[in-house]
Amino acid sequence: MNPGPGQKEQDMSSTAEHQTDAPPDYLNDGYGLRSWLLTTDHKRIAMLYLMSVTIFFMMGSFFAALIRAELVTPEGDLVTPDMYNRLFTMHGVIMVFLFLIPTIPAVFGNFFVPIMIGAKDLAMPRLNLASWYVFNVGAVLILYSIFAGGLDTGWTFYVPYSSSYSATNVVTAAVGIFIAGFASIMTGLNLMVTIHRMRAPGMTWFRLPLFVWANYATSIIILLGTPVVAITILMVGAERMFQLGIFDPAYGGDPILFQHLFWFYSHPAVYIMVLPAMGIQSELMAAFARKRIFGYRYVVYSSLGIAVLGFLVWGHHMYTSGQSAYAAAVFSILTMLVAVPSAVKTFNWTATLYRGSISFQTPMLYALAFMGLFLVGGLTGVMLGTLGIDVHVHDTYFVVAHFHYVMVGVTVSAFMGGLHYWWPKMTGRLYPSFPSKISAILVFLGFNLTFFPQFLLGFMGMPRRYHAYPVEDWQVLNVLSSAGATVLGVGFLLPAVYLTWSLFRGKRAPANPWGAVGLEWDIPSPPTKHNFEEDVVVTHEAYDYDARRDAIAAAAAAKQEADLV
């Protein structure tokens, strides 16, 4: 992301050769660590976030690798049971709180929402920078709790284990998550205000690109949900330190209340992870089918619908916690309702492909992988929302497979798709297409090989969070899963190599390498510090590929005519 000093000078001179009076791009507008650490440019902050979340993704993956290594054999022979508890907790906490939740809004939302709406920056640039620092402070606390003895409560922090019994660093981790939540709120707040108040003239609500809408819906959830988990985690911390007695039955508290409060946030948090991913998906589908998204407005409404419904379904995590049968039935029905807006999206993406001129570039490969994986993840979600099935497979690998299909299959696929789609715009460099296509295919195959066997394991009854399994029959599927994880790991390592390579040796990217429509493609790659040198006035709806096609044809005709004369 940050090429060495020699590289920058070279960039500078080559830019200078072509355009002498044009302002420098944002990467060359000021050098040195200070210009990055004190920047208020939303694009640089997005890059800082990208570096942070990449590191956390690698750490989370490392713990996942150890988990899969342990499960190759039925005996618990690689790590102790205590260590295994710490491993899956670290994997979950890092991936959920430090990667999945912040990543798309804070990286791509930060970078592209202002550009897509024709603004120079987010509404509160200093708050934006502060959010990155706050996020890292939270992350450092979480990592400290992990390396100074670990954490073994699982990412869900269920009481009373977390509040009264666990001998690990619950308080430090809780404070870390509390602080990281603040960063999430700052980003959500900023995006929301920016989208409300800073749209360019002519950029009406229904001309917004769907990625902007997705970030808007996500921000609503962040603003309404994150504070609840913040106070809940604060209460767990206080309970641990002062025996507060809100959740501990020994003092008259109710552990189920914790689950209610926790899932009131943590279920919507799933939509914090997937909604922005769906926004990226819409961008990719339109760009690589060369068509306006089918039923644009309904995709918008479905995002908002998911944001609202997401707050009404938390009880489906608690079917076996002893809530009343009536409550469970209501939550079950509401859960299935979420399938409606999700299906609207899926069908609309599919319909967008119909009669589109589809090109199978790397981002599109990820987008197509997304479609398949989301279908499996979403439909198994309906299965799990069904009371009878859920009670049977509760806390088994079926659940693990389901939420990985959603979180990895949807969020990480879209993250990779978005990264490959916008990389030329963000860095000004093209990456090699062959290895990137290989990596997209490896990720898709490796992912399915890893997690599909887990559905079967779960249905056969293998419980989650066990470090050893007694039934020899389960070994074949576990070995398959671990083998898949290896393929998946290679698929994720490849981009780390060729994207880094492209930073230094990649070809210079043109302003619009994909021939896509959108304000971000009308400005140079990489953009200048203030994004737009002239005031933007928007006259077209989003994804007006038809109009653009005419314009391109008209330009070609005019040129031909000029040549004739």
Partner: protein
């Protein structure tokens, strides 16, 4: 203050003064939404336990000092008035009045915290702070059912947690108003640009409002 300096208050990424004012105001409103949800979590816990242990909570609530709580309520409502007056003064460019109203707001906020301090100390003296020395006696007159001391202890836990969280917000508010007062004395605000005054006012009103809910919930319900 020169016009050039005043104009520099319009941050370059905004298109107009209106866009800037609307953005920062909206940001505070959205922040207050998160605050509502934040306090909502602990209010939910309180309401559930209150409903489960009405007798113990009423008995414990009887130990709270209704006079101090009542005076504090009045003090905070008064501070909301001074906040509104500070906005009024800022809009008209009355710098002296602005400084005075900001100062009075801080004074009232401080009064609240001082009274709260005495209230807390009294709880320590009467062994009502949950911990090793916690002791609870039902002091209400007349016949009442059995009161489980552990549930009364829970009431005091919630009391300290909720009022403590509120007091923390008050302290943050005092810090904000200190900065506003400092900037006012330095002549930073003008009729053209004084966004921080109403935006901070929103925050202050919200913190007042939390107390308006805390007071009846903790002090008044179940009292005869």
């Amino acid at each position: 203050m020169s016009e050039a300096v005043q104009n520099s208050r319009l941050a370059h990424w905004y298109r107009s003064w209106e866009e800037q004012t609307e953005s920062v105001t909206l940001a505070m409103w959205f922040f207050l939404v998160t605050e509502v949800m934040f306090f909502g979590g602990i209010f939910t816990a309180y309401l559930i336990y209150r409903a489960q242990n009405p007798e113990a909570f009423a008995a414990a609530s009887h130990h709270l000092d209704i006079v101090m709580g009542g005076v504090n309520t009045a003090v905070l409502i008064g501070s909301s008035l001074t906040v509104v007056m500070s906005v009024w003064a800022a809009e008209r460019g009355k710098q002296k009045a602005l400084a005075t109203w900001l100062f009075l707001t801080m004074l009232l906020g401080l009064t609240f915290l001082v009274i709260k301090y005495f209230e807390y100390s009294a709880k320590f003296e009467h062994n009502l702070v949950p911990g090793a020395s916690f002791e609870f006696h039902d002091t209400r007159a007349g016949e009442h059912g059995y009161v489980d001391p552990s549930r009364a202890r829970m009431f005091f836990h919630l009391y300290f947690f909720m009022t403590g969280l509120h007091a923390l917000h008050m302290i943050i508010g005092l810090g904000i108003y200190g900065v506003l007062l400092f900037n006012t004395l330095k002549g930073k605000y003008s009729v053209r640009w004084h966004d921080p005054i109403p935006v901070a006012g929103l925050y202050w009103h919200f913190v007042d409002l939390v107390w308006i809910f805390l007071f009846p919930l903790l002090y008044l319900i179940g009292r005869h």
